[in-house]
Amino acid sequence: MGKHTFRVNGERVTVSAPSDVRLLWVLRDLLGITGPKYGCGIEVCRACTSHINGKAFNPCSVPVGQIDSNDEITTIEGLPDTVGKKLHPMQQAWIDRDVAQCGYCQPGQIMAAVAKVREAQQAGREITEADLDDIRNICRCGTYHRIREAIHEGAKQMAADD
């Protein structure tokens, strides 16, 4: 049983767990951070999408032993702090468009959207319909259309805030 130290949502944490336990379970079952959801455990549904050093990833498919002590993990709970606000503009866009139905997929959808927009903006371009077609996150309630609208809106606000 190894001890693992890293940063989650701005706080340094240390947990004891075998190195092979996937980070999702360390977050959810051991640290009680339940924003990232389980939907498959095999990097397919993307309900667990979170950020590692600002990049989107799926903690269900990363053993905790691979997380470095300098790594910064951000889950949906920590997203507002990354912009120093009560809500990240993408979350606000989600509320404005009334995107969520059951809401189970939405933390993952928002984390995926933020990374996608950042990637486009860092490449100096706007998010396109083709970018949106590439998003793999499942929404079993079928909120896909409003997700697309909200990403466009959130992207605008992210650009404006920059």
Binding site: M1, P18, D20, T34, G41, Q101, I110, Y144
Partner: protein, 770 residues
């Protein structure tokens, strides 16, 4: 004062520390009728006059009631005997209460009620029935709470209650004096429980009902704070999973390495339960490891010799013959048969339940559509009485019919009992597909005859693998009818009932006759009806034949429907609205086409126009581990549900139903082979993904056509499926004989092995970070 006619209902005020008002929920035995009885309006009867100061036995009269409670801070609380699974009923319920109480929606707190066996069928969420059955009772209780506070305000202000108005949680006197509800909550509380008469607002007075409102849980959902069962912390309830059999309904013969697995890191317990071998561990990750490490010898399942092929032959062989009235021998005939393959009804949140079983009591937490039924089943399993079992209903991460059943709650209870410890039992995604419930495979055969300008007959024979209706309408009485129906009807009795209640042919087609027959037994496989029951398949068959008739009779498909629709302005209205917004009949390039469909159900009418692109450049798009194929490029849905309580929520429901519809026609099905389903993940089961989503979707919510709401949850599925199927047939000049259309394409995935029953989580996730 308004001069509108307000309907009056019986309500109750309950003796309590703050204002609590109640209304009868619904009569046992009727699942759809609103419970409170209207009082004939008597001239001069004041809105706030107490008709009977009847002192009543509170327990007797309030047992079957729902109550609205006013809190000391002036907010209102209500425990809804239904489950919120994304359909938006906590929002629409808060709107109903806010409307009648004249409170802001944000000051109404709606929670989900625990199982309340005294409510009988009326704690069952399904069949899109919530708005229909709760509309009057909830408003009645809310109106009674307001009336009680107005009465106290009138006394304090020395003004007749008739002259007081209420706004945003404040009572206003004509002279400008005000009293907020917070100041009345305690002083207006009833000291004895009694019956009163309340008047409900006339729809012309509505300020909240009928206006778009955002979801009350939107903030919680986007911040990750919305608590699902998976997120709940119950002391000692450690992660638990089940190692399941390699074929459907197989059973454990022998566990060969129990000690080894019990000694694995994190694992606390291993035991055989009815669904397989349960393992409990410190994390779900360690449960996955343990499930995969188990060496189990299995007994065969119930359908080990079956595959899609065997079922298809059996369905065809059991189709009921067409009816007697033999059509005019000179008439022309359209005769088409369609096959609909298995559909998974799994939600994104997998099956999950927390169970804490002690010596003399048990507590369950789970998203349940039929909690009273579950409470009874858990009690039976444990040999307890119903009142020894507490069932808490949590919001579900989707439902789609899956949560009508108690499967996971029973497994959790059994595991908790065996381990003597609390458990949080979750299904793996692969369990969801392979051991989870399916919408049964079915065929639908339609024969229609026509002559000159008339359709003379229209017959439909639907044949399906048996659907499990054993949850009845959510409580044990009607459920026992489904599993042991009277008069030797077998399961047919129940399925016939559901079929006849939901299926109709909305056109003037002469002799109309439709019937269903189900093969095998309801519990041979894990079945259940996915969103929109039988209609989702039956309407596709019907509308495709309608198109065939229109073509044969050389009438435009839209005009044909308008001409043959049963005389009904509302039906014609939605069809017209959808066609107009979609610019029906506009020029479409070769390989693309429009399709139109109409459907009526749930006291409502709905029409859809879909545009589809079947050109090679679209069909052959490449995406990793995906099915692309034809794409629906545009979708217009016009819906009339009578009175839309929350048009924004309704819009969302229609879009959600449309996503099911698109997948079910074009991409998603299960393949049964030698007793198990090949699919094991969302990358095998091609439910609609972003690359299949139309970029242009419009939902037209028709203005209120009635003063009562209809159902909405499932309404968007059948009509959109039919419109997409019709568009596809038009674009490709070929009517598909089976759905989804890719069912016989080479499998785009490698099926996971069946032993071990679930796949290991990858370890290379960091490589894909971006």
């Amino acid at each position: 004062m308004t001069d509108v006619s307000r309907r009056r209902f019986l309500a109750y005020v309950i003796a309590a520390p703050t204002v609590v008002a109640a209304a009868r929920w619904a009569d046992a035995g009727t699942s759809t009728t609103a419970a409170p009885q209207p009082i004939p309006s008597a001239p001069g009867l004041s809105d706030t006059y107490d008709l009977n100061d009847l002192l009543t036995d509170s327990t007797k009269t309030t047992a079957n009631m729902i109550t609205v409670r006013v809190n000391k801070d002036g907010t209102a609380s209500f425990a809804l005997p239904r489950i919120e699974t994304g359909q938006g009923i906590t929002t629409s319920t808060a709107m109903l209460i806010a409307e009648e109480m004249d409170l802001p929606v944000s000051k109404v707190h709606v929670t989900l009620a625990d199982a309340r066996p005294e409510l009988k069928q009326n704690q069952f969420t399904g069949g899109s029935n919530t708005s229909i059955s709760t509309y009057t009772p909830i408003r009645t209780a809310a109106a009674a709470a307001k009336q009680q506070m107005k009465g106290e305000a009138a006394r304090r202000l020395g003004v007749s209650a008739d002259h007081l108005t209420t706004r945003d949680g404040v009572v206003h006197a004509p002279d400008g004096r005000t009293i907020p509800y917070a100041d009345l909550a305690e002083s207006a509380a009833a000291t004895s429980t009694r019956q009163i008469v309340v008047a409900l607002k006339d729809p012309s007075e509505f300020r909240i009902i009928g206006r778009p409102h955002g979801r009350v849980d939107a903030h919680a959902a986007v911040t990750g704070r919305k608590t699902f069962t998976m997120d709940m912390h119950v002391r000692g309830a450690l992660p638990t999973m089940i190692c399941r059999p390699p074929t459907i309904k197989g059973t454990v013969k022998r566990v060969n390495n129990r000690t080894t697995v019990t000694n694995m890191p994190g694992v606390t317990d291993v035991a055989v339960i009815s669904g397989g071998v349960a393992v409990r561990a410190r994390t779900f990750g360690q449960c996955i490891d343990a499930v995969r490490a188990l060496k189990v010898t299995w007994n065969p399942g119930t359908v080990d010799k079956d595959s899609d092929k065997t079922f298809l032959a059996e369905l065809k062989a059991n189709e009921l013959p067409f009816g007697a009235p033999s059509p005019d021998p000179l008439a022309d005939v359209v005769d088409e048969s369609f096959t609909f393959y298995w559909k998974s009804n799994s939600a994104l949140e997998p099956n999950v339940a927390i169970a804490d079983v002690r010596k003399t009591r048990a507590t369950i937490w789970s998203p349940l559509q039929a909690p009273i039924f579950t409470q009874q089943e858990v009690a039976d399993l444990l040999g307890f009485s119903v009142d020894q079992v507490k069932v808490h209903v949590l919001p579900g991460g989707g439902a789609f019919g899956r949560r009508m059943f108690s499967d996971v709650a029973l497994e959790a209870a059994e595991a908790s009992k065996k381990f003597g410890k609390p458990v949080k039992l979750m299904w793996h995604r692969t369990d969801e597909f392979r051991a989870g419930r399916m919408h049964p495979m079915a065929t639908s055969h339609v024969r229609a005859t026509y002559s000159g300008g008339s359709v003379l007959s229209f017959e439909q024979r639907h044949t399906s693998m048996a659907t499990d209706w054993s949850m009845g309408f959510g409580e044990p009485l009607s459920a026992s009818m489904a599993s042991a129906p009277p008069a030797g009807l077998g399961d047919q009795g129940y399925s016939q009932g559901v079929w006849n209640l939901t299926i109709n042919v909305p056109y003037n087609f002469g002799q109309v006759d439709h019937a269903i027959y189900e093969i095998r037994k309801y519990d041979d496989m894990h079945t259940g009806s996915v969103r929109n029951l039988y209609s989702a398949d039956a309407a596709v068959a019907r509308e495709l034949v309608v198109d065939k008739l229109a073509k044969a009779m050389k009438v435009d498909r839209y005009r044909f429907r308008q001409e043959f629709l049963k005389d009904d302005d509302l039906a014609s209205g939605v069809l017209h609205a959808a066609a107009k917004a979609a610019r029906w009949g506009r020029h479409m390039p070769a390989g693309t086409a429009q399709g139109i469909a109409f459907h009526s159900e749930y006291h409502g009418k709905i029409a859809a126009v879909a545009e589809i692109d079947c050109r090679p450049s679209t069909v052959n798009r490449k995406k990793r581990q995906a099915v692309t194929g034809p794409r629906v490029t545009k979708l217009v849905i016009a819906v009339d549900v009578g009175l839309p309580i929350n048009p924004r929520g309704l819009e969302a429901q229609m879009m959600g139903g449309a996503m099911d519809a698109i997948g079910q026609i074009l991409t998603e099905s299960m393949h049964l082979r030698d007793g198990y389903f090949l699919e094991g993940s969302w990358d095998d089961y091609y439910y609609t993904r972003q690359w299949n989503v139309p970029r242009d979707i419009k939902v037209i919510v028709m203005p209120p056509s009635s003063d009562a709401p209809g159902g909405a949850g499932e309404f968007g599925v059948a009509v959109t499926k039919a419109a997409v199927a019709c568009a596809l047939a038009q674009a490709t000049h070929e009517t598909p004989a089976y759905f989804p259309i890719n069912h016989f394409d080479p499998l785009p995935f490698h099926p996971f092995p069946t032993e071990p029953p679930i796949p290991q989580s990858p370890r290379d996730g960091l490589k894909h970070a971006r």
